[in-house]
Assembly symmetry: C2
DNA sequence: CAAAGCATGTAAGCAGTTACATGATTGT
DNA sequence: ACAATCATGTAACTGCTTACATGCTTTG
């Protein structure tokens, strides 16, 4: 999986310039790429060489020329083939889990503080994500089915953040219970 | 976040060879790296150059010599500093979500099939993960607190898989309801 | 006798990131 | 005056992956 298919997807919705794609990625929840120049423009050039997209240069007098990219039939075919291909499982890479795995090296106050910072980072992100969802950016809505899929993906995203937050709070509670549990060995 | 801290963590538990680390990563749930040679051996060499680990070569007559790596005080300090540093948020990159985002290009049967394959891949992974958890590989257990943290991380992992599976099933159900909903526009 | 395990390492490449480079225009 | 927006592109780097390379030993 690479950003290539995501770009083809957006172009299958409607033509975009690199600059527009950049913004779409930058403020999307579910399309998780940073939307950096190198990747967007580089991928568009590569897709163009492979004949999966074409571009039309639109000159403007007040602003730089725009390259409007459109997907070709071959590009659509490539996208459709990918859509039908074997789905990948989510990666579940969470750097915080590694931090927590070795956090017994920390004292209780530091461990609590670490969990606390993770929780508040999650809270902030959740608020932003909810706000983004509430505002609802433009998204393809070509059928009830498509709208449902996009809504489902957004809900999945929010759900993951919520369950991660609930889990973190649970860990902190569990640590508290551990402290007052009579069956414990020497305190750290 | 890189594998460097994960390796320092394991060495803070007890000395390991590269070969051992490789296996630890390969069959761990929460340490999500593939455990490939280049990364393990390369990182160990780099850590050694930086003085964060030392190694002792143990010759064997039947097998190749082993390099047993031990963390240095400087390495422990580095690890502890990282543990106290700002936690990263999970990345939530799910290639399947991108596939689903553009899946309106597929017909109903293909879309169902795609969801079905995602579900069964998740089911398989869940079974393997539960089995791995049940068997319980050796893990640091230096305090009740550490055992609790490791258990929590494992539960988080299983929880994510379970909720993803539940979500996927929900999406499939929702699609079914959509089909029989009178308020729909032209069927795809 | 072939496959898997023990054990270390290197080469080549992909995907993604930040930062650099240019230059007019519009908003504060 | 300064920053942000419009718009495209390049350079340098990090992290991670697969595959290659070697060679002895144990298991099936």
């Amino acid at each position: 999986m690479s950003i290539q298919h995501a770009i083809l997807g957006f172009l299958s919705w409607k033509p975009h310039t690199g600059y527009e794609l950049k913004k779409v990625f930058a403020d999307s929840l579910s399309f998780h790429w940073s939307g950096n120049n190198n990747q967007i423009y580089g991928t568009l050039i590569k897709l163009h060489q492979e004949g999966l997209v074409t571009n039309e240069v639109v000159y403007q007098d007040k602003y730089p020329a725009r390259k409007v990219y459109t997907v070709t039939p071959k590009g659509l075919e490539t996208l459709r083939a990918w859509l039908g291909s074997e789905p990948e499982l989510p990666e579940l890479r969470n750097a915080f889990h590694i931090q927590l795995a070795w956090a017994d090296l920390l004292g209780d106050p530091e461990l609590y503080a670490l969990l606390g910072r993770y929780e508040s980072a999650l809270e902030t992100r959740l608020l932003m994500a909810r706000e983004t969802t509430r505002r609802g950016r433009p998204s393809p809505n070509r059928s009830r089915r498509e709208a449902f899929l996009w809504r489902s993906i957004e809900e999945n995203h929010l759900g993951h953040l919520e369950s991660e937050l609930a889990w973190a709070r649970g860990v902190r509670e569990g640590l508290g219970n551990l402290r007052y549990d009579p069956a414990r060995e020497g305190s750290k």
